[in-house]
Amino acid sequence: MIRSALLIAKKDLYSELKTKQVLATMIIFAGLVILVFSFAFDPANNTTKAVIPGVIWVIIVFSGILGLNRSFISEQRNDTMQGLMIAPLDASSIFLGKFLANFSMILVVELVSLPFLFLLFDFKMYGGFGYLILVLVIGSFGFISIGTFLAALAANSKSSEMLLPLLLFPVTSPILIGAVQATKIILTNIEKLSSAMAWIQLISAYDVIFFVLCFILIDYVLEV
């Protein structure tokens, strides 16, 4: 299963390397968000720091949706999804492969855009860098795993690009609330780390439950 999933993830990432469609769009979107927010808020003002956690997750959520939307729709051309369905692999391998590709892409977007955000907002971190990375990884993990599952579900709909955010936001709201709160505490008030840890635990539990659920239910979603 892992081998097939890695093959699918590699195929998706290599496709992206060739076409440069999705990742470029995601990075451009992230750059625009940062620019617009940097115009709106004065970096010299201390209250601007309070906006940064929100901006980080706006970038992750909306650029993530751009990638998720393409994830299964791209398999509709030439019915390549059928090619995966008739191959000797489980539906969960397809889900895992797609998840790995989407997760890698969102990590690249975060890696490129967040240093740019901190630079433009003249934000200096005083410790807690490891915790920030942890929140970003587990928050993105949950958002992308549920998003990949719902993208598979929405792909057969004619208005899938509209349907995906409608399905995704309510289901992922606990992850997003927890991630924004934990990011805020880590970036602005590291003394209250125990509160951040509570949010991190909530996100982790949510991640595990929904990842397993998606893994089990994907078989029914991909069924023709």
């Binding site: 097939s4 030439n78 000797p88």
Partner: protein, 234 residues
């Protein structure tokens, strides 16, 4: 090789397959003929594990379809209307990807060999999106047989092909037959059916209307029997 008992497929209150009973032996090359909407492609999709039957028994190589999907998938090469190819990938990249998915060893060498066999060696590294319909179909054939399946399911494989591509496809089917491959081919092309198949099954309204063997390449027999069953002309 294939055993179907009372196979029924219903979709949206419409019966597409109405209790098909069929037995196909190993090594047979069988053409499935029938008018549009008769259920030919649905039958192929059920065998290819793409859609689940509503009821009935499907056995392939002694394995029951419901319980042994992964094993059955390994035995099959399926060529539908669409190419199932990634169009920004080259033939080599497409074939290596699918070869790896099927777990074949030396996927790269096998892919190069197949591209050569279908006469597209010069286009080995060109993206498939630049190819004509006939060229895409040739690569699609190579994709379907890359794991050397003992069962080949072809859905109107000759549609849109030029004479050169038709003869390459027929050669591939016949060489697979020599290796003992069972081929099930849905087609509207009686000439090709008579040319390469040794058994004809006519499906009408989701049921087997006729099932006969071809001793020689008797195109007239195929046409007559088809007209008799489907159009009611004797």
């Amino acid at each position: 090789m294939i055993e179907l008992k009372k196979l029924v497929k219903q979709a949206d209150n419409k019966l597409i397959l109405r209790g098909i009973d069929l037995k196909i032996d190993k090594g047979e090359t069988v053409a499935i003929l029938g008018p549009n909407g008769a259920g030919k492609s649905t039958l192929l999709k059920v065998l290819a594990t793409l859609i689940k039957p509503t009821s009935g028994l499907v056995k392939i190589n002694g394995l029951e379809l419901r319980k042994n999907q992964l094993e059955i998938k390994k035995l099959q090469g399926y060529l539908p209307h669409s190419s199932l190819l990634y169009e920004h990938y080259s033939p080599l990249e497409n074939l290596v990807f699918f070869g790896n998915l099927y777990g074949i060893k030396n996927a790269q060498e096998k892919a190069i060999e197949l591209v050569k066999e279908v006469g597209l060696s010069f286009f080995l590294n060109e993206p498939v999106k630049n190819f004509s319909r006939g060229m895409i179909q040739r690569i699609a054939i190579a994709r379907a047989i890359i794991h050397e399946p003992p069962l080949l399911l072809l859905d109107e494989p000759h549609t849109g092909l030029d004479q050169g591509a038709i003869s390459i496809l027929n050669n591939v089917i016949l060489s697979m037959k020599d290796k003992g491959t069972t081929t099930l081919m849905v087609t509207h092309d009686f000439k090709q059916a008579a040319e390469i198949c040794d058994r004809i099954i006519i499906i009408k309204n989701g049921k087997v209307a006729d099932d006969f063997r071809l001793e020689e390449k008797e195109l007239d027999t195929v046409s007559e029997k088809y007209q008799l069953q489907v159009e009611g002309v004797s």
